[in-house]
């Protein structure tokens, strides 16, 4: 295996609605921010990979026009995944493992605001049996939360604590969309939005973008003092049919964590892509995190949940903390699909 590290991270300030910019205009500051921080241009990049989905823009092949943000001339090696940018990072990591290139640019972006996001997300469900019912993303998450409560594995109070802790942590995150400091007990006084979920249990709808630069071995060491080395990365998928899964656990996260080697050392920090509060409780268990691990110090997806980007940001947040020397070993997690259907786990470490 080659040593591959995250050496640069940039993201936009996430907002409920970015009306004044198109997608490429919104993306450019993230791409150039990530390149500029390490003094690179696209000419120094061996491979470029992006993550986004046409369903958010309502336009086919929408990623092609955002490629303008990187300057793809003379021709570049480039690829796209119709997934969160965390999966684009995985593809870039595989490409770097092949040894053909030493550097990669990974970016992802989403304007979630043009459509009705919970409705748009129904299009990722099984097209024959479930999608025609237009089961929206909040209702499906509520089914999962209720299953968790019924199984005695979580309480609404514990869920409120996740919200209170995440949103308070987001006060220190300059990119966050939603941040406030209110006690969990006060949150429980609110009426349910879709029972048992209250508004605080749900993520904001976000427009935003992020970019990351990867480099292998000496290419990383030459450019930054403390690269955040990817020591393990794995992703697993479960059935699209919710009735075939135990929604109170995340078997795919557990497997991915095992293969990525989460338990091989102490974890200082974990950034979990848990859009709904109860999902953090499921993921903590699946990842086997100790109680003293700092979970989502950025505020996580409850602070900003730009689709197709929030997972890549989790990797970026862990890498940033390692680069700054605030953590030595961290876990980043990304999810996609309804009720934590697919999950990616990435273990990052600093040296020395």
């Amino acid at each position: 295996m080659r040593d591959v590290a995250v050496i640069s991270v940039a993201q936009t300030r996430h907002r409920r609605r970015v009306r004044e910019l198109n997608e490429v205009e919104m993306l450019m500051p993230a791409v150039h921010g990530a390149l500029d921080q390490v003094g690179m241009t696209i000419d120094d990049i061996g491979f470029t990979c992006s993550g986004s989905t046409d369903y958010l823009a309502g336009v086919g092949f929408s990623f092609v026009s955002t490629l303008d943000a990187v300057g793809p001339w003379p021709p570049i090696q480039e690829s796209h995944v119709e997934m969160d940018g965390a999966w684009a990072l995985y593809e870039a990591w595989v490409k770097l493992q092949l040894g053909e290139v030493d550097t990669a640019l990974v970016y992802s972006y989403a304007k979630s605001s043009p459509g009705d996001l919970p409705m748009v997300l129904t299009r990722q469900l099984d097209p024959v049996t479930v999608a025609p019912l237009w089961a929206d993303s909040i209702s499906l998450a509520a089914l999962q939360a209720q299953a968790l409560i019924d199984a005695g594995k979580a309480t609404e109070a514990q869920m409120a604590e996740v919200a209170a802790r995440s949103r308070a942590a987001a006060l220190g995150n300059p990119h966050a969309q939603l941040a406030w400091d209110r006690p969990a007990a006060e949150l429980l006084e609110a009426e349910p939005l879709v029972g048992p979920l209250r508004r605080h249990d749900c993520p904001p709808i976000s427009d935003g973008a992020a970019a990351v630069v990867l480099a292998a071995g000496d290419a990383a060491r030459e450019r930054v003092e403390r690269p955040a080395w990817i020591r393990g990365i794995d992703h697993r998928i479960e059935s699209i049919h919710l009735g075939l899964r135990d929604l109170t656990v995340s078997e795919s996260t557990r497997l991915a964590a095992q293969r990525a080697g989460v338990a091989d050392g102490p974890v200082d920090v974990a950034e979990l892509h848990a859009p709904f509060t109860h999902q953090e409780l499921i993921l903590r268990h699946a990842l086997g995190l100790a109680d003293d691990v700092a979970v989502n110090p950025s505020g996580g997806a409850l602070a900003a949940n730009p689709m197709m980007t929030a997972g890549l940001i989790r990797i970026g947040e862990v890498a940033t903390r390692i680069a700054a020397g605030e953590a030595d070993r961290g876990v980043a997690h990304a999810t996609s699909g309804p009720c934590l259907q697919q999950n990616l786990v990435c273990v990052l470490e600093g040296e020395g």
Binding site: R19, E20, L21, N22, E23, V24, E25, M28, V31, H32, T41, I42, D43, Y55, A57, G58, S65, L67, D68, A69, V70, G71, P72, W73, P74, P75, S113, P114, G115, D116, M119, V120, R123, P127, V128, A131, P132
Partner: protein
């Protein structure tokens, strides 16, 4: 594999061979900064593009220069006269079409621009349209002009002599050699890098 059998209650039911699940999603499109400025100018009967730091003028602008990957902050007005760089004669009526066939859809390089816009050519028989033909915009009446390219009803010939040396924008990528030189795809040596200025005909500059 175990044999699959139907329960008795389903034995005489007609098998399902297909299902239809119609879906519809509505979006509120926002054009973004560059395209909004372009469309607002169209509503004033002006065609305004954006110039990249390297010199190319994009019409319509998207706010990004695909060569440099950088913003294109400088606005420039271009002419409403241009040259046909490519065209297609439409001989089939299709769903949603409001045009009488045959008609011509063309790529038009406006004077001062480095990117063609697609529009209709009218006021000339379809079989007389040709690459290099000089054309001009024909606008709707003032009261009907809106922030849409449909405010230009079509383009018509100006009667000027053809541009025999018509540039096909995007084909030469600054090499001046066309995208394929002697049937060979551009190599690193033939390609000018807009960020470094390296490469292109004559080597490094």
């Amino acid at each position: 594999m175990a044999e699959v059998t139907l329960p008795p209650s389903l034995r005489d039911v007609e098998p399902v061979r297909s299902v239809r699940t119609p879906a519809r999603l509505d979006y509120q499109f926002t054009a973004g900064d560059a395209t909004s400025r372009f469309l607002r100018n169209v509503a004033r009967k002006r065609i305004v593009g954006q110039r990249a730091p390297g010199g190319r003028v994009y019409v319509p602008p998207r706010g990004a220069d695909p060569e440099l990957g950088q913003p294109t902050p400088e606005e420039v007005e271009v002419a409403q006269v241009g040259t046909v760089t490519s065209f297609c004669v439409v001989n089939l009526q299709f769903y949603g079409s409001v045009m009488e066939i045959p008609y011509v859809s063309a790529l038009i390089l406006l004077d001062g621009a480095d990117l063609s816009i697609m529009h209709l050519i009218q006021e000339v028989p379809a079989d007389e349209v040709r690459i290099g033909m000089r054309v001009e915009a024909v606008w709707r009446a003032d009261a009907e002009v809106e922030p849409t390219l449909e405010s230009i009803t079509w383009f018509r010939p100006t009667g000027e002599p053809d541009d025999a040396d018509v540039r096909i924008p995007g084909e030469d990528h600054g090499t001046g050699l066309g995208s394929w030189v002697g049937g060979v795809a551009p190599t690193a040596a033939l390609v000018r890098n807009p960020r470094t200025g390296q490469g292109g005909p004559g080597g490094a500059t």
